[in-house]
Symmetry: C2
Subunit: 218 residues, 2 copies
DNA sequence: CGCCAGATGGACTACAGGGTCCCATTCTCG
DNA sequence: CGAGAATGGGACCCTGTAGTCCATCTGGCG
């Protein structure tokens, strides 16, 4: 013992702009390749080539492939949450949810349903093989669901949703429909199942909307 | 042309009982291992050892790993469809759906949500890497959904479901909720999300139940 | 009983892909 | 500018894994 993690006075690692940029290039390439081929089917040589770097760079910035994959989990998680924050943090009405749905469907339609969700596919591939990755992914899903449930809470507080609506459960259901929709769309190479799934979840949420004050049944 | 699948007079490959049993053992082992480790992370040596066979057996019965995987897709598809037929082909009421839901949840709870759906996980892993496997999986999902939608059709015909219910869409939504539920449950190592997702889908179907003739609103 | 095709065991090969190493280049700072 | 650290290139090593091969065994059939 004796080599604890005290910050060595003068020995802290200098990190340059160039180094950061390289690391970013590697992650970006890994992100791109692993989305279409899957994590295990993507080799470090593929990444090296696509990122215009070299083996020594990969191992300079990441201890090994597993660490690179974990970094990618964080990277993708941050990307998705950032994107979703944009679409959800001001959510206050049902029509906002519809717009959010449309954006996801449209994006997926561009690929004819292929590739699925970057987080979902990693979750399937890694959950049974890297406990640390699994737990990060699980937390990311939780954060994503929270963006949704926060919006639903706002809708409930403002009276748009009835008091008996349970935002957390609705958010989990919506997330499951989204992920299942991605999966089926990917298998079918067709967005349709994803649309149907999201519409079901939205319909379900709709059933918790407050009756308009003087509304009739039809 | 010219080499159609006519039974060659004397040269048809004799296939013995023992051979069939070995092939079955291999598939059974592959099924078991690939469910927990994933397809790509499972090696042929793993399978050889688990099935108590040898390399020559693997290559005697399957051209290569890809063919073995495709055979596994068929194998699992047949297993799942057979199991689901048992639970769905006599489906005639909403309570039958609830029983079906409970059986799936209970089975998944035994693993604390781990491993997910054998078909869904293969779909994610293979869809972007083996077109043939993808299309077989897609067909299997379709057949599975049809078992559900057939049941819903029966319910509609018998008047349990309203005429405006769309069995195909309801079945797709239910399947997406199931698959998404499996995925989230696997990531969380907890069945809960799967339950919530299936309950959402069932609640949605419930909203299409016919009003009981003289029923009150509450 | 002897033949033969199918079934089996397992050693062997080829090579892809993860990981190491060493030296060159660039940057930073005194 | 000179020293030393960070960055970079790419050859190389080694293990794991897919795939080959052949000698042997088994069981059905004339």
């Amino acid at each position: 013992m004796g080599d604890e993690q005290v910050a060595a006075p003068t020995k802290q690692r200098r990190i340059s702009q160039r180094g950061i940029a390289t690391r970013e290039r590697i992650l970006e390439a890994a992100n791109r390749l692993m989305l279409v081929r899957g994590v295990n089917a993507t080799t470090l040589d593929d990444i090296r080539e696509a990122s215009q770097t070299s083996k020594s760079q990969l191992y300079h910035h990441f201890a090994d492939k597993q660490e690179l994959v974990r970094a990618l989990v964080r990277y993708r998680g941050a990307l998705v949450l950032q994107r979703e924050r944009g679409g959800l943090e001001r959510l206050r009405s049902f029509s906002g949810l519809v717009r959010w749905r449309n954006a996801l469907v449209q994006a997926n339609a561009l690929n004819n349903g292929k590739y699925g969700c970057g987080l979902g596919s990693m979750a399937v591939e890694l959950s049974d093989q890297d406990e640390q990755a699994r737990s990060m992914l699980s937390e990311t899903f939780a954060a994503w669901e929270k963006l949704i449930s926060d919006g639903l809470h706002r809708m409930r507080d403002s009276g748009a949703l009835r008091q008996d609506a349970e935002p957390e459960k609705l958010a989990t259901g919506l997330m499951a429909a989204l992920q299942g929709g991605y999966l089926l769309a990917n298998a079918a190479h067709d967005v349709a199942p994803m649309e149907v799934a999201l519409d079901m979840a939205l319909e379900h949420i709709k059933s918790f909307l407050s009756e308009p004050p003087g509304g009739s049944t039809r």
